[in-house]
């Protein structure tokens, strides 16, 4: 036992050293420990805490916060099914039951021999090629019954993941429509050369002319964000790319990262030149772990090409480099201030704002946080000029937008459109017929009914970060709402009561109605609860969490009312069934032993 402990201490010391004994790398250290040990056990918590100089309690609180970190061992193979509604529509539930049966496991419970765990996780960003799973953090797509059988066999035989059929791990790009961002040529380094030739002020002017707005969904003017950060006083400035693409149904950043990472890194480097940053971070969601080597490789290539590192393109004093930080399964870390907390190795709890990251971001220094798509667009705008971007789109939403289209359509994938495209045009292009509704911008967005398909994708009409999930008339829209309500209850960070308690109460009320025990009273309760959450929550998660319920109550009241049992109150449980244990224990079955 002592030798095992010494071994653990040696390993942890080595990992902590590798991460520069910097407590801000706690999350990265814990990920590495878990990869090697299978979990972060109590001993590991103590050892890491001592080695990195953080109280064990804080280390434990970080382990408990992130879904992909575990205090107790998981199976040798940790299989996580993406539980997004679109994966479900593609047959996820049946496949999961099949795998559990083949392997003889209960969902979420490690098998007694420690071989395997099968569990759920939030959307892994593959709904265009689902049902998808993660096995020990690596993405597998296009699951079928026969693949499930093969996987069960591979697990039983203990075949290492590297030796599984390569085709299982193939992630397709599925780009269906290209425009300014994906469809025009770009020479690596041309954005940086432009900023070096014209100077930061001129590039900032071009960014202003372009009218580029945050393409993660919030739509803040990018030029304004950069200018604010540039003007802010600090010891150091930082560039942070938000690649925590967690909104269910969104996967366009995955395509950019996988096929166009140079564009993204170029955009970050241009931003660094404009605001005067020497260090940048790419915060990559844990679900995209499979891309880490590819991205590191791209960064190395750029360093060799003089596009990153010291004296970029031979310019004295222009030093900039990018580190990749991996997330660990927390939707909330897509919120920029939670992301910054996570980047500092802490629990991903959103900060109070103001101050905003532009003045007090990473390390409390001026920081630009932008989405993958925004940086990528910025690189091209630097090279091609602002007017080039502003020539497309609408007056208040210039340029183009990548949409992640999934669900009931013939051609799911990534579509790049100029802003102002109508929902109906998108449906026609992707081969969707008989569409009943589209969920735009993910669960936090809105469910758009058929009568509104003439509305436009733009900040001034239907704003979106890119998620576009299509449901035809055979789908049970209440199942969609149930899936979303459960998602928010799972992903609430737990910091503020309106969201922590509200999302759970909302999930339970939705379940109550969906299982046929609901009344008008419950619908009123949901509206009331949703109003409180919208008024009192700390961050965007709680503010938008009631949207699926409130939106569908407003636009699709019939999916709720047809489920109502009566106009009066109904308990959420079976009253007569609640006497079952007592009946069994007493052997009674008389009239008083039942509740009518």
């Amino acid at each position: 036992m002592t030798s095992a402990k010494t071994e653990l201490e040696g390993f942890v010391a080595e990992v902590v050293d590798r991460y520069g004994r910097d407590r801000r790398n706690l999350l990265q250290v814990l990920r590495t420990v878990q990869d090697q040990q299978g979990c972060v056990c109590d001993d590991a918590v103590q050892t890491v805490g001592q080695a990195i100089g953080v109280p064990a309690m804080n280390v434990r609180s970080v382990v408990e916060f992130y879904s992909f970190l575990h205090g107790t061992p998981r199976g040798q193979y940790d299989v996580l099914f993406s539980d997004n509604i679109v994966d479900r529509m593609l047959g996820k539930e049946g496949l999961m039951a099949r795998l559990c049966e083949r392997l003889g496991v209960e969902p979420g419970v490690p098998r007694a021999d420690g071989r395997v765990t099968v569990d759920n996780t939030s959307c892994t960003g593959m709904p265009d090629q689902g049902p998808a799973i993660l096995v020990n953090g690596l993405a597998l797509t296009h699951l079928t019954p026969s693949r499930v059988d093969t996987i069960a066999d591979l697990i039983e035989r203990g075949v290492p993941l590297q030796k599984w059929p390569g085709i299982y791990c193939e992630v397709e790009d599925n780009v269906r429509r290209r425009d300014l961002l994906l469809g025009t040529p770009f020479i690596d380094g041309s954005g940086i050369r432009a900023v070096l030739a014209q100077g930061p002020d001129a590039v900032l002017d071009e960014m202003m002319t372009s009218g580029l707005r945050g393409l993660g969904g919030a739509g803040f003017k990018t030029a304004q964000k950069w200018a604010l950060s540039r003007a802010a006083a600090g010891h150091e400035h930082f560039v942070v790319c938000n690649a925590d693409e967690g909104e269910p149904g969104t996967f366009k950043d995955r395509v950019l990262l996988q096929g166009h990472a140079n564009l993204l890194f170029e955009g970050m480097t241009v931003c660094a030149r404009v605001i005067g940053a020497r260090r940048g971070f790419l915060y990559l969601r844990g679900e995209y772990r499979y891309m880490l080597e590819l991205l590191e490789h791209t960064l190395a290539q750029r360093r060799r090409a003089g596009l990153l590192g010291k004296g970029i393109l031979g310019t004295e004093g222009f030093d900039f480099d990018i580190e990749i930080h991996l997330g660990a399964g927390a939707y909330i870390c897509g919120e920029e201030s939670a992301l910054l907390e996570s980047l500092a190795g802490k629990r991903g709890v959103p900060r109070k704002r103001p101050p905003f990251p532009v003045t007090h971001g990473h390390d409390n220094e001026p920081t630009v946080v932008n989405n993958v798509e925004t940086f990528s667009a910025a690189a091209k705008i630097a090279a091609n000029g602002g007017a080039w971007w502003a020539a497309k789109g609408t007056a208040t939403s210039p340029g183009t937008k990548l949409l992640s289209v999934s669900g009931d359509c013939a051609r799911p994938g990534v579509y790049e459109y100029p802003f102002g495209i109508t929902i109906q045009e998108i449906l026609d292009d992707c081969g969707a017929s008989d569409t009943a509704a589209v969920q735009v911008a993910g669960p936090a967005g809105q469910l758009v009914p058929k009568r509104d398909f003439g509305r436009k994708i733009a900040y001034e009409d239907v704003a979106t970060g890119g998620s576009f999930m299509i449901f035809n008339h055979t789908r049970d829209l209440l199942a969609v709402v149930r899936n979303f309500a459960a998602f928010f209850a799972h992903e609430s960070c737990g910091f503020c009561t309106p969201c922590r308690v509200g999302t759970s109460l909302m999930r339970d009320l939705v379940e109550k109605v969906a299982t046929g025990n609901g009344t008008q009273y419950d619908l009123e309760e949901m509206k009331h609860l949703g109003k409180i959450m919208k008024q009192a929550s700390h961050c965007g998660l709680g503010l938008t969490a009631p949207n699926p319920v409130l939106g569908s109550l407003d636009k699709f009241p019939e999916i709720w009312t047809e489920k109502l049992k009566s106009k009066d109150f109904e308990p959420a449980f079976d009253l007569d069934g609640a006497l079952s244990e007592a009946r069994a224990l007493t052997g009674r079955d008389d009239v008083h032993a039942h509740i009518a």
Binding site: P571, A578, L579, S580, E581, A582, T586, G587, H592
Partner: protein
């Protein structure tokens, strides 16, 4: 003289502490009966509740009889009030929810110390226990929740007087906080 307001009260799975607290309004009960008639309450010993304006329930729902009484109250009372911690959350009786009913009954009637003739009682006169103790609002619709264990006499007085006067219910801080 205007018609008096009809009030009924009952204790389900509670300790009667809330009713004791109600009696702690002391001589103010004389003011109360000027405007209120009591229907079924432990004070009047009326067994069946009739049509009422206000029903006040202490205690959670632990057995089949509790369900029956609670439903009668809901049916007959225009306004139903959950009084105290047990009615609102299940309270002390709900501590058994951490165990199965079988474990509870075996401990009480079969395996506990000093038990003679060990057996789980099965007389048809005895109401059957629910698998879990429930707060009132999980079984019927509840209009008001009066917190406290028990709510103080002053809190009950504030609540009743404001309700009777048709005012929004607002408590002074000290009546519903205990810090």
């Amino acid at each position: 003289m205007p018609e008096k307001i009809k009030v009924a009260t009952a204790s389900l799975a509670g300790c009667f502490g809330c009713h004791m607290s109600l009696l702690d309004i002391d001589e103010r009960i004389l003011d109360l009966v000027q405007v209120v008639d009591f229907d079924r309450t432990p004070i009047t010993d009326i067994k069946k509740v009739g049509p009422c304006d206000v029903g006040i329930i202490e205690g959670g729902v632990a057995n089949a009889e509790n369900v029956e009484v609670l439903r009668e109250f809901r049916h007959h009372c225009k306004i139903l009030v959950a009084m105290g911690a047990c009615a609102t959350n299940g309270g002390i009786p709900a501590m058994r929810n951490q165990f199965t009913l079988e474990e509870c009954l075996r401990e009480s009637y079969v395996e506990g110390m000093g038990i003679e003739n060990p057996m789980v009682p099965n007389d048809a006169e005895i109401p059957l226990l629910l698998n879990k103790v429930r707060p009132l609002h999980e079984v019927v619709k509840v209009d008001y929740f009066l917190p406290g264990c028990p709510p103080s006499a002053d809190a009950i007085w504030t609540f009743l007087t404001e309700l009777i006067q048709g005012k929004p219910i607002a408590f002074p801080y000290t009546q519903i906080h205990y810090d």
